[in-house]
């Protein structure tokens, strides 16, 4: 895979995550045997993801996405609690509680424990 020397200097760009700094993330689950291309993006290149935008030495196909995040994403996507864009997850949870919608306790526990993304999955992407 990627050699350690190429990893230095690459900072994973991340929005303010509840988890704190980005360095020191666990290795991505998928190990890839792609050869890392050396060219950078320019007109006429046939490289899909040139060096400049590959972070952590692999294609950015899956960002950190563990089972906790999966549960929270299901909470985000659930129609019953209303639109998720423009609100932090905790605010949306509080609203759901205030409106008597009984959101799952699991979600509340995860959000209050703190090591998860406080914003909804679309935050910063739309």
């Amino acid at each position: 895979m990627a050699s350690a020397s190429d990893m230095k200097g690459f900072f994973r760009q991340k929005k303010k995550a509840a988890g704190g700094g980005a360095i020191g993330k666990s290795k991505p689950k998928k190990s890839t045997s792609f050869k890392k291309p050396k060219q950078s993006a320019s007109y006429g290149t046939d490289q899909v993801q040139p060096t400049a935008i590959i972070s952590h030495g692999s294609l950015d196909l899956q960002d950190d996405y563990d089972s906790n995040e999966e549960v929270l994403r299901q909470f985000d996507m659930s129609m019953a609690y209303g639109p998720c864009l423009g609100m932090s997850r905790l605010d949306r949870l509080e609203r759901a509680k205030a409106l008597g919608l009984n959101p799952p306790k699991e979600v509340e526990r995860l959000l209050k424990a703190g090591k998860v993304n406080a914003e909804c999955l679309w935050d910063g992407r739309i």
Binding site: P83, L85, G86, S88, D91, E94, R95, A98, L99, G100
Partner: protein, 445 residues
């Protein structure tokens, strides 16, 4: 020495002004605690739909007990059911920002249409799962507007429309009974559209009004009447700025000082009222307040003279308060004026009645009426039925006492613009009767 009294004749028998217990209910209209995080209006629509739907679901057993309720996506063709959702009215005449780009740049000026309804309008019901076009003769598109939440009984047709057989609106909310006050008459005076500083405002007319209600005019009988006025409510559009100053051009220093004149003049006039009577002032569409509803209270620094009195209260628009346990709710007119553009009715009072039946002060917000994007609540939802529901800046005085289905009694008042009509409205707290107080300065030949 009493705070406000008037000397009468030589008997030294001072007439005391009556007083009432005031309680402000404007907390829900404040936006000081809100923080804008880039949210869109879908949040306020969700809050509104959820609030109203829970309410309508609780009313369904009394209306059609054995009919199943389903979501829009769960509709089955031919099966009779009830759906609850937000109405969207498709109007071809409604101006759309995209039209500016699609039409070729012709020289024809845009005709300012006052009412955008047409016979082609149709209604669509929407909930979180989807939307469905509504058809049938029971539901009149000219009555409803985008943003009202209702329950409909009917069935899906072959053409994937929903044929409506019956409609349920939330109806007037529950009203807390007004304690019967014995004997004394106490009056509340409503005035709006003063337009101080405007070209058509007549300072003498408003001065006459002030002198009358503070008891400086008239004989003992008039003064006794004036002493029974316990509250004055100014419902919006108290100032008018010359339009030439507001067209976005840079102002010379002379023009800049002209900008502050209307509000200074208003402060001088309001000080005279506040010195003697409790005064509530609400912002209106032309006042120096924020544009979106709920408009926040005009700042105290605009009224250096009047705000030194504790009788002076700057309030939000919409404004809700209680006076001697009589509850009042009212706006400066934007909500009803917007309804007039997008639906039809016989008179303004009918629009007002509809908003109360739909339990929502401004159903067209945020669609066509500017509104703050609340995320977790809809402050325009009417929770309890007011005893008095007023709207300012209307063309003419209209008033009616309407009874709800549970015996609620509501006095609806349309307050005319003072600058055009010279009239204010007087309400008797004891029996909720209303009359006008007109001031003329023309000397009849």
């Amino acid at each position: 020495m009493a705070a406000a009294h008037m000397e009468v004749n030589s008997e030294n028998d001072a007439i005391q002004r009556k007083q009432s217990l005031y309680k402000s209910l404007d907390e829900r209209f404040g936006i000081q605690k809100e923080m804008y995080r880039g949210q869109q209006y879908s949040q306020i629509y969700f809050a509104r739909l959820h609030l109203m739907r829970t309410l309508l679901y609780s009313l369904l057993p009394n209306w059609k007990p054995h009919v199943p309720v389903c979501t829009v996506l769960g509709l089955e063709e031919g099966k009779e059911c009830i759906i609850v959702g937000t109405i969207y009215k498709h109007m071809k005449l409604k101006p759309c920002i995209l039209d500016e780009y699609s039409k070729e740049r012709s020289a024809t000026p845009l005709v300012k249409i006052h009412n955008f309804t047409s016979s082609d309008d149709y209604l669509v019901l929407e909930d979180e799962s989807g939307r469905v076009k509504l058809c049938g003769t029971v539901l009149l598109p000219s009555v409803y507007v985008t943003g009202s939440v209702i329950a409909l009984l009917g069935k899906e047709t072959g053409a994937s429309d929903f044929m409506v057989d019956d409609i349920l609106e939330a109806g007037f909310p529950h009203q807390i009974e007004r304690p019967l006050v014995s004997g004394e008459d106490k009056y509340v005076v409503f005035v709006s559209g003063l337009s101080v500083g405007g070209s058509s405002s007549n300072p003498l007319q408003f001065q006459l009004f002030i002198d009358h209600i503070t008891g400086h005019l008239g004989d003992e009988k008039e003064q006794s009447f004036a002493a029974q006025i316990v509250q004055v409510v100014v419902a919006g559009n108290s100032v008018e700025y010359p339009s030439a100053l507001l067209n976005g051009q840079n102002l010379s220093s002379k023009d800049q000082s002209r900008l502050s004149e209307p509000i200074k003049e208003l402060d001088i006039l309001l000080t005279q009222i506040a010195a003697g009577i409790p005064l509530d002032i609400m912002p209106g569409p032309n006042d120096p307040a924020n544009f979106c509803l709920p408009q926040q209270a005009l700042h105290r620094c605009l009224f250096p003279g009047s705000s030194s009195f504790n009788t002076f209260r700057s309030c939000t628009n919409p404004h809700s308060f209680e006076l001697d346990n009589v509850s009042f709710l009212g706006t400066s007119g934007q909500n009803i004026d917007d309804l007039e553009k997008y639906s039809d009715a016989n008179d303004k009072l009918e629009f007002m009645e509809r908003t109360l039946r739909w339990r929502h002060l401004a159903p067209t917000a945020p669609n066509t009426l500017g509104c703050y994007p609340f995320t977790d609540r809809d402050p325009f939802f009417i929770e309890t039925c007011p005893h008095v529901y007023f709207v300012g800046n209307q063309d003419k005085y209209l008033s009616r006492l309407i009874k709800g289905s549970e015996g609620q009694g509501v006095r609806f008042i349309c307050i005319p613009r003072f600058v055009d009509t010279g009239a204010a409205v007087v309400l008797n707290l004891r029996n909720l009767e209303c009359h006008t107080l007109s001031f003329g300065t023309e000397l009849s030949p």
